[in-house]
Protein backbone atom coordinates (compact mmCIF):
# COMPACT_ATOMS: atom_id res chain seq x y z
CA UNK A 1 0.00 0.00 0.00
CA UNK A 2 1.45 3.33 -0.99
CA UNK A 3 1.87 5.99 1.63
CA UNK A 4 -0.78 8.70 1.66
CA UNK A 5 1.30 11.08 3.76
CA UNK A 6 1.37 14.09 1.44
CA UNK A 7 1.73 17.82 1.80
CA UNK A 8 -1.91 17.97 0.76
CA UNK A 9 -2.96 16.37 4.08
CA UNK A 10 -1.18 19.14 6.00
CA UNK A 11 -3.13 21.62 3.90
CA UNK A 12 -6.38 19.97 4.97
CA UNK A 13 -7.34 18.88 1.48
CA UNK A 14 -8.39 15.37 2.50
CA UNK A 15 -10.85 16.08 5.29
CA UNK A 16 -13.93 15.51 3.17
CA UNK A 17 -16.49 12.89 4.19
CA UNK A 18 -16.07 9.82 1.99
CA UNK A 19 -18.91 7.76 3.43
CA UNK A 20 -21.13 6.32 0.75
CA UNK A 21 -18.57 6.48 -2.02
CA UNK A 22 -17.05 3.09 -1.32
CA UNK A 23 -19.12 -0.06 -1.43
CA UNK A 24 -18.20 -3.61 -0.58
CA UNK A 25 -19.75 -6.10 -2.97
CA UNK A 26 -19.09 -9.81 -2.98
CA UNK A 27 -18.74 -11.89 -6.11
CA UNK A 28 -16.69 -14.90 -7.09
CA UNK A 29 -13.57 -13.98 -9.01
CA UNK A 30 -12.74 -17.59 -9.76
CA UNK A 31 -15.86 -19.72 -10.16
CA UNK A 32 -18.56 -17.81 -12.03
CA UNK A 33 -18.84 -18.14 -15.78
CA UNK A 34 -21.73 -15.86 -16.63
CA UNK A 35 -21.14 -14.15 -19.93
CA UNK A 36 -24.32 -12.07 -20.17
CA UNK A 37 -25.95 -9.44 -17.99
CA UNK A 38 -28.37 -10.81 -15.36
CA UNK A 39 -31.23 -8.86 -16.98
CA UNK A 40 -30.53 -9.81 -20.61
CA UNK A 41 -32.74 -12.19 -22.60
CA UNK A 42 -31.55 -15.73 -23.28
CA UNK A 43 -31.29 -15.92 -27.06
CA UNK A 44 -30.09 -18.56 -29.50
CA UNK A 45 -28.19 -17.34 -32.58
CA UNK A 46 -29.49 -20.37 -34.51
CA UNK A 47 -33.08 -19.26 -34.00
CA UNK A 48 -33.78 -16.78 -36.84
CA UNK A 49 -36.79 -14.59 -37.68
CA UNK A 50 -37.41 -11.78 -40.14
CA UNK A 51 -40.13 -9.21 -40.58
CA UNK A 52 -41.11 -6.49 -43.06
CA UNK A 53 -40.98 -2.98 -41.55
CA UNK A 54 -42.46 -1.27 -44.62
CA UNK A 55 -45.55 0.08 -42.86
CA UNK A 56 -44.24 0.09 -39.27
CA UNK A 57 -43.26 3.12 -37.19
CA UNK A 58 -39.84 3.33 -35.53
CA UNK A 59 -41.37 2.47 -32.15
CA UNK A 60 -43.15 -0.54 -33.59
CA UNK A 61 -39.89 -1.78 -35.14
CA UNK A 62 -38.02 -1.44 -31.83
CA UNK A 63 -40.80 -3.15 -29.88
CA UNK A 64 -40.90 -6.00 -32.41
CA UNK A 65 -37.14 -6.54 -32.03
CA UNK A 66 -37.54 -6.63 -28.26
CA UNK A 67 -40.44 -9.04 -28.46
CA UNK A 68 -38.42 -11.42 -30.64
CA UNK A 69 -35.49 -11.30 -28.20
CA UNK A 70 -37.86 -12.12 -25.32
CA UNK A 71 -38.92 -15.17 -27.34
CA UNK A 72 -35.30 -16.31 -27.58
CA UNK A 73 -34.70 -15.30 -31.20
CA UNK A 74 -30.98 -14.57 -31.65
CA UNK A 75 -30.87 -13.65 -35.34
CA UNK A 76 -33.29 -11.02 -36.65
CA UNK A 77 -33.59 -9.57 -40.16
CA UNK A 78 -35.55 -6.35 -40.67
CA UNK A 79 -36.60 -5.75 -44.27
CA UNK A 80 -37.47 -2.31 -45.66
CA UNK A 81 -36.51 -0.06 -42.71
CA UNK A 82 -37.08 2.87 -45.13
CA UNK A 83 -34.48 5.14 -43.47
CA UNK A 84 -36.57 5.58 -40.34
CA UNK A 85 -34.89 7.42 -37.48
CA UNK A 86 -33.92 5.96 -34.12
CA UNK A 87 -34.35 2.27 -34.88
CA UNK A 88 -32.27 -0.57 -33.45
CA UNK A 89 -31.56 1.46 -30.31
CA UNK A 90 -31.06 0.51 -26.67
CA UNK A 91 -30.33 -3.17 -27.30
CA UNK A 92 -28.48 -4.45 -24.20
CA UNK A 93 -28.25 -8.04 -25.39
CA UNK A 94 -26.24 -10.42 -27.49
CA UNK A 95 -28.00 -10.55 -30.84
CA UNK A 96 -27.40 -10.77 -34.58
CA UNK A 97 -29.46 -8.03 -36.21
CA UNK A 98 -29.57 -7.21 -39.91
CA UNK A 99 -31.27 -4.25 -41.57
CA UNK A 100 -31.86 -4.78 -45.26
CA UNK A 101 -31.90 -1.15 -46.36
CA UNK A 102 -30.93 2.23 -44.91
CA UNK A 103 -31.46 3.90 -41.53
CA UNK A 104 -32.12 7.56 -40.72
CA UNK A 105 -30.50 9.46 -37.89
CA UNK A 106 -29.54 8.07 -34.45
CA UNK A 107 -29.77 4.49 -35.69
CA UNK A 108 -28.40 1.73 -33.42
CA UNK A 109 -27.62 4.15 -30.58
CA UNK A 110 -27.00 3.11 -26.96
CA UNK A 111 -26.38 -0.53 -27.85
CA UNK A 112 -24.44 -2.86 -25.55
CA UNK A 113 -23.56 -6.19 -27.12
CA UNK A 114 -25.36 -6.86 -30.43
CA UNK A 115 -23.79 -7.47 -33.83
CA UNK A 116 -25.63 -5.27 -36.33
CA UNK A 117 -25.31 -5.22 -40.10
CA UNK A 118 -26.88 -2.47 -42.22
CA UNK A 119 -26.82 -3.13 -45.95
CA UNK A 120 -27.60 0.46 -46.96
CA UNK A 121 -26.60 3.89 -45.63
CA UNK A 122 -27.12 5.63 -42.28
CA UNK A 123 -27.91 9.22 -41.32
CA UNK A 124 -26.12 11.29 -38.72
CA UNK A 125 -25.10 10.07 -35.24
CA UNK A 126 -25.21 6.38 -36.04
CA UNK A 127 -24.30 4.21 -33.02
CA UNK A 128 -24.17 7.23 -30.76
CA UNK A 129 -23.07 6.20 -27.26
CA UNK A 130 -22.46 2.60 -28.33
CA UNK A 131 -21.08 0.50 -25.45
CA UNK A 132 -20.17 -2.88 -26.98
CA UNK A 133 -20.79 -5.08 -30.01
CA UNK A 134 -20.27 -4.48 -33.71
CA UNK A 135 -22.14 -2.22 -36.13
CA UNK A 136 -21.23 -2.59 -39.82
CA UNK A 137 -22.59 -0.27 -42.54
CA UNK A 138 -22.07 -1.32 -46.14
CA UNK A 139 -22.35 2.15 -47.71
CA UNK A 140 -21.94 5.78 -46.55
CA UNK A 141 -22.72 7.41 -43.19
CA UNK A 142 -23.66 10.95 -42.14
CA UNK A 143 -22.01 13.34 -39.69
CA UNK A 144 -21.14 12.66 -36.04
CA UNK A 145 -20.74 8.98 -36.83
CA UNK A 146 -20.12 7.17 -33.54
CA UNK A 147 -20.60 10.27 -31.39
CA UNK A 148 -19.53 9.61 -27.79
CA UNK A 149 -18.93 5.93 -28.53
CA UNK A 150 -17.55 4.07 -25.51
CA UNK A 151 -16.79 0.62 -26.84
CA UNK A 152 -17.17 -1.92 -29.63
CA UNK A 153 -16.41 -1.79 -33.34
CA UNK A 154 -18.25 0.70 -35.55
CA UNK A 155 -17.54 0.11 -39.22
CA UNK A 156 -18.50 2.11 -42.32
CA UNK A 157 -17.25 0.67 -45.57
CA UNK A 158 -17.93 3.90 -47.47
CA UNK A 159 -17.36 7.61 -46.73
CA UNK A 160 -18.54 9.43 -43.61
CA UNK A 161 -19.39 13.07 -42.87
CA UNK A 162 -17.79 15.53 -40.48
CA UNK A 163 -17.09 15.21 -36.73
CA UNK A 164 -16.71 11.45 -36.87
CA UNK A 165 -16.18 10.07 -33.35
CA UNK A 166 -16.81 13.41 -31.67
CA UNK A 167 -16.21 12.96 -27.92
CA UNK A 168 -15.13 9.35 -28.49
CA UNK A 169 -14.49 7.67 -25.13
CA UNK A 170 -13.48 4.21 -26.29
CA UNK A 171 -14.06 1.58 -28.94
CA UNK A 172 -12.85 1.44 -32.52
CA UNK A 173 -14.28 3.36 -35.48
CA UNK A 174 -13.25 1.95 -38.87
CA UNK A 175 -13.85 3.87 -42.09
CA UNK A 176 -13.23 2.31 -45.47
CA UNK A 177 -13.33 5.60 -47.39
CA UNK A 178 -12.90 9.26 -46.45
CA UNK A 179 -13.89 11.14 -43.30
CA UNK A 180 -14.89 14.80 -43.06
CA UNK A 181 -13.64 17.78 -41.06
CA UNK A 182 -13.12 17.71 -37.30
CA UNK A 183 -12.97 13.93 -37.09
CA UNK A 184 -11.83 12.85 -33.62
CA UNK A 185 -12.92 16.21 -32.17
CA UNK A 186 -12.49 16.12 -28.36
CA UNK A 187 -11.57 12.42 -28.53
CA UNK A 188 -10.72 11.06 -25.08
CA UNK A 189 -9.68 7.48 -25.76
CA UNK A 190 -10.30 4.65 -28.20
CA UNK A 191 -9.09 4.21 -31.76
CA UNK A 192 -10.14 5.54 -35.16
CA UNK A 193 -8.94 3.92 -38.38
CA UNK A 194 -9.47 5.83 -41.63
CA UNK A 195 -8.42 3.97 -44.77
CA UNK A 196 -8.95 6.99 -47.04
CA UNK A 197 -8.41 10.74 -46.61
CA UNK A 198 -9.26 12.87 -43.56
CA UNK A 199 -10.68 16.40 -43.73
CA UNK A 200 -9.62 19.57 -41.92
CA UNK A 201 -8.80 19.76 -38.22
CA UNK A 202 -8.29 16.06 -37.61
CA UNK A 203 -8.21 15.25 -33.89
CA UNK A 204 -8.91 18.80 -32.80
CA UNK A 205 -8.65 19.19 -29.00
CA UNK A 206 -8.18 15.46 -28.53
CA UNK A 207 -7.31 14.49 -24.96
CA UNK A 208 -6.14 10.95 -25.65
CA UNK A 209 -6.78 8.04 -28.04
CA UNK A 210 -5.24 7.17 -31.38
CA UNK A 211 -6.13 7.97 -35.00
CA UNK A 212 -4.68 5.94 -37.90
CA UNK A 213 -5.01 7.33 -41.44
CA UNK A 214 -4.17 5.61 -44.71
CA UNK A 215 -4.77 8.54 -47.08
CA UNK A 216 -4.02 12.26 -47.01
CA UNK A 217 -4.79 14.47 -44.01
CA UNK A 218 -5.96 17.96 -44.97
CA UNK A 219 -4.63 19.38 -41.70
CA UNK A 220 -4.36 18.61 -38.00
CA UNK A 221 -6.46 20.25 -35.30
CA UNK A 222 -5.22 21.81 -32.07
CA UNK A 223 -2.99 19.47 -30.03
CA UNK A 224 -3.13 16.59 -32.52
CA UNK A 225 0.39 15.42 -33.37
CA UNK A 226 1.96 12.57 -35.35
CA UNK A 227 2.80 9.47 -33.29
CA UNK A 228 5.17 6.56 -33.72
CA UNK A 229 3.67 3.24 -34.82
CA UNK A 230 4.69 0.18 -32.76
CA UNK A 231 4.90 -3.44 -33.89
CA UNK A 232 2.03 -4.47 -31.64
CA UNK A 233 -0.12 -1.74 -33.20
CA UNK A 234 0.70 -3.01 -36.69
CA UNK A 235 -0.33 -6.51 -35.64
CA UNK A 236 -3.50 -5.16 -34.08
CA UNK A 237 -4.35 -3.07 -37.18
CA UNK A 238 -3.77 -6.04 -39.46
CA UNK A 239 -6.07 -8.23 -37.37
CA UNK A 240 -8.76 -5.58 -36.91
CA UNK A 241 -8.92 -4.53 -40.58
CA UNK A 242 -8.75 -8.17 -41.64
CA UNK A 243 -11.85 -8.94 -39.57
CA UNK A 244 -13.83 -6.63 -41.85
CA UNK A 245 -11.95 -7.32 -45.11
CA UNK A 246 -10.65 -3.77 -45.21
CA UNK A 247 -7.23 -2.46 -46.18
CA UNK A 248 -5.98 1.04 -47.05
CA UNK A 249 -4.66 1.54 -50.58
CA UNK A 250 -1.26 2.51 -49.16
CA UNK A 251 -0.96 -0.72 -47.15
CA UNK A 252 -1.23 -1.05 -43.38
CA UNK A 253 2.51 -0.60 -42.82
CA UNK A 254 2.35 2.86 -44.42
CA UNK A 255 -0.55 4.18 -42.36
CA UNK A 256 0.07 7.34 -40.34
CA UNK A 257 -0.64 7.55 -36.64
CA UNK A 258 -1.86 10.61 -34.73
CA UNK A 259 -2.14 11.11 -30.99
CA UNK A 260 -2.76 13.89 -28.49
CA UNK A 261 0.13 16.28 -27.89
CA UNK A 262 -1.18 16.52 -24.28
CA UNK A 263 -0.55 20.25 -24.18
CA UNK A 264 -4.17 20.75 -23.12
CA UNK A 265 -3.88 18.44 -20.13
CA UNK A 266 -2.56 20.73 -17.43
CA UNK A 267 -4.94 23.61 -17.76
CA UNK A 268 -5.04 23.90 -13.98
CA UNK A 269 -1.51 25.27 -14.23
CA UNK A 270 -2.97 28.28 -16.01
CA UNK A 271 -5.00 29.28 -13.00
CA UNK A 272 -2.46 31.68 -11.45
CA UNK A 273 -2.01 33.64 -14.69
CA UNK A 274 -5.77 33.69 -15.26
CA UNK A 275 -6.24 35.11 -11.77
CA UNK A 276 -3.70 37.82 -12.50
CA UNK A 277 -5.58 38.76 -15.63
CA UNK A 278 -8.81 38.99 -13.65
CA UNK A 279 -7.20 41.15 -10.97
Amino acid sequence: MASLDHKSHDMGLHAEQLAGRTQQRFFSATEEENFTYPWSHEVDFRLAEEFDADTMTATEINLKIRELMQNGVGTITVRNPRARHGVGVGILNRLNLKFEGSLGYFGCGLVDGPNIHITGRVGWSCAENMMAGTVVIDHNAGSTFGAAIRGGDLVCRGDVGSRTGIDQKGGTILIGGRTGAFSGFMMQRGRMIVCGDAGKNLGDSMYDGTIYVGGEVEDLGVDCVPGEMTDIELDWLTAKLGMYDMEPACGIANMKKFVAGKQLWNYDNLEPSEKKLVL
Binding site: H9, F27, A29, F35, T36, P38, M131, D208, I232
Partner: protein
Amino acid sequence: MNDINKYLETDGLDTDREKDIGQHIGYRYDVNLVPDMSRCTDFLRKYMDVMGWSDLNWLEDVHMGYEEGNAAVFDRNINGWVTVPDDIDLPDNQQDRDMIARELLIKFQMSSSHPMVDLMNAYRKF
Protein backbone atom coordinates in the same frame (compact mmCIF):
# COMPACT_ATOMS: atom_id res chain seq x y z
CA MET B 1 5.93 2.93 -18.00
CA ASN B 2 9.33 1.55 -17.04
CA ASP B 3 8.46 0.33 -13.54
CA ILE B 4 5.24 -1.64 -13.72
CA ASN B 5 4.79 -1.56 -9.93
CA LYS B 6 5.28 2.19 -9.66
CA TYR B 7 1.71 2.86 -8.53
CA LEU B 8 1.70 -0.10 -6.16
CA GLU B 9 4.94 0.68 -4.37
CA THR B 10 5.13 4.47 -4.47
CA ASP B 11 2.68 7.34 -4.29
CA GLY B 12 3.27 7.92 -8.02
CA LEU B 13 3.34 11.68 -7.68
CA ASP B 14 6.02 13.10 -9.96
CA THR B 15 5.36 16.75 -10.72
CA ASP B 16 5.29 19.62 -8.24
CA ARG B 17 1.64 20.16 -9.07
CA GLU B 18 0.80 16.53 -8.26
CA LYS B 19 2.68 16.78 -4.97
CA ASP B 20 0.82 19.97 -4.07
CA ILE B 21 -2.64 18.55 -4.64
CA GLY B 22 -1.75 15.04 -3.46
CA GLN B 23 -3.27 13.49 -6.56
CA HIS B 24 -1.94 11.97 -9.73
CA ILE B 25 -2.83 13.85 -12.93
CA GLY B 26 -3.78 11.73 -15.94
CA TYR B 27 -4.16 7.98 -16.31
CA ARG B 28 -2.08 5.52 -14.30
CA TYR B 29 -1.67 3.27 -17.31
CA ASP B 30 -1.31 3.58 -21.06
CA VAL B 31 -4.88 3.92 -22.32
CA ASN B 32 -3.68 3.54 -25.90
CA LEU B 33 -2.06 0.14 -25.36
CA VAL B 34 -3.73 -2.33 -27.73
CA PRO B 35 -4.07 -5.96 -26.61
CA ASP B 36 -1.63 -8.69 -27.53
CA MET B 37 -4.06 -11.49 -28.42
CA SER B 38 -1.40 -14.15 -27.97
CA ARG B 39 -1.88 -13.54 -24.24
CA CYS B 40 -5.68 -13.86 -24.32
CA THR B 41 -7.06 -16.26 -21.71
CA ASP B 42 -9.45 -19.21 -22.25
CA PHE B 43 -12.13 -17.43 -20.24
CA LEU B 44 -11.99 -14.39 -22.52
CA ARG B 45 -12.02 -16.56 -25.64
CA LYS B 46 -15.19 -18.26 -24.34
CA TYR B 47 -16.75 -14.84 -23.74
CA MET B 48 -15.87 -13.74 -27.30
CA ASP B 49 -17.42 -16.92 -28.65
CA VAL B 50 -20.66 -16.45 -26.70
CA MET B 51 -20.99 -12.87 -27.91
CA GLY B 52 -20.14 -13.74 -31.52
CA TRP B 53 -17.01 -11.55 -31.65
CA SER B 54 -13.66 -12.28 -33.28
CA ASP B 55 -11.67 -10.17 -30.84
CA LEU B 56 -11.98 -8.56 -27.43
CA ASN B 57 -14.32 -5.84 -28.71
CA TRP B 58 -15.11 -3.37 -25.90
CA LEU B 59 -12.62 -5.07 -23.59
CA GLU B 60 -9.81 -3.60 -25.70
CA ASP B 61 -10.35 -0.45 -23.66
CA VAL B 62 -10.08 -2.22 -20.31
CA HIS B 63 -6.71 -2.11 -18.57
CA MET B 64 -5.47 -2.83 -15.08
CA GLY B 65 -5.15 0.42 -13.22
CA TYR B 66 -4.06 1.38 -9.75
CA GLU B 67 -6.22 3.08 -7.17
CA GLU B 68 -5.11 4.05 -3.68
CA GLY B 69 -2.08 1.80 -3.95
CA ASN B 70 -4.09 -1.27 -5.02
CA ALA B 71 -4.42 -2.96 -8.39
CA ALA B 72 -7.91 -2.22 -9.69
CA VAL B 73 -10.05 -2.16 -12.81
CA PHE B 74 -12.42 0.66 -13.73
CA ASP B 75 -16.05 -0.34 -14.22
CA ARG B 76 -17.76 2.17 -16.52
CA ASN B 77 -21.19 0.87 -15.51
CA ILE B 78 -20.76 2.06 -11.92
CA ASN B 79 -18.23 4.80 -12.66
CA GLY B 80 -15.94 3.34 -10.01
CA TRP B 81 -12.93 1.14 -9.38
CA VAL B 82 -13.16 -2.55 -8.58
CA THR B 83 -10.21 -3.67 -6.49
CA VAL B 84 -8.33 -6.76 -7.61
CA PRO B 85 -8.42 -9.36 -4.77
CA ASP B 86 -5.15 -9.74 -2.85
CA ASP B 87 -4.95 -13.48 -3.56
CA ILE B 88 -4.56 -12.91 -7.32
CA ASP B 89 -0.88 -12.87 -8.26
CA LEU B 90 0.00 -10.00 -10.56
CA PRO B 91 2.13 -10.90 -13.60
CA ASP B 92 5.21 -8.83 -14.35
CA ASN B 93 3.87 -7.22 -17.52
CA GLN B 94 0.96 -4.94 -18.36
CA GLN B 95 -0.48 -7.13 -21.16
CA ASP B 96 -1.08 -10.09 -18.83
CA ARG B 97 -2.35 -7.78 -16.10
CA ASP B 98 -4.83 -6.30 -18.56
CA MET B 99 -6.17 -9.77 -19.38
CA ILE B 100 -6.74 -10.43 -15.66
CA ALA B 101 -8.51 -7.07 -15.36
CA ARG B 102 -10.78 -7.95 -18.30
CA GLU B 103 -11.71 -11.33 -16.80
CA LEU B 104 -12.41 -9.79 -13.43
CA LEU B 105 -14.57 -7.05 -14.91
CA ILE B 106 -16.70 -9.55 -16.86
CA LYS B 107 -17.21 -11.65 -13.73
CA PHE B 108 -18.19 -8.57 -11.75
CA GLN B 109 -20.50 -7.04 -14.37
CA MET B 110 -22.31 -10.30 -15.02
CA SER B 111 -22.69 -11.10 -11.32
CA SER B 112 -26.10 -10.81 -9.67
CA SER B 113 -24.31 -8.80 -6.95
CA HIS B 114 -23.46 -5.98 -9.36
CA PRO B 115 -24.97 -2.62 -8.32
CA MET B 116 -26.59 -2.27 -11.76
CA VAL B 117 -28.94 -5.14 -10.85
CA ASP B 118 -30.39 -3.06 -8.01
CA LEU B 119 -30.66 -0.02 -10.26
CA MET B 120 -32.37 -2.00 -13.01
CA ASN B 121 -34.86 -3.44 -10.53
CA ALA B 122 -35.62 0.01 -9.17
CA TYR B 123 -35.72 2.14 -12.29
CA ARG B 124 -36.02 0.15 -15.52
CA LYS B 125 -39.05 1.11 -17.58
CA PHE B 126 -39.47 -1.98 -19.73
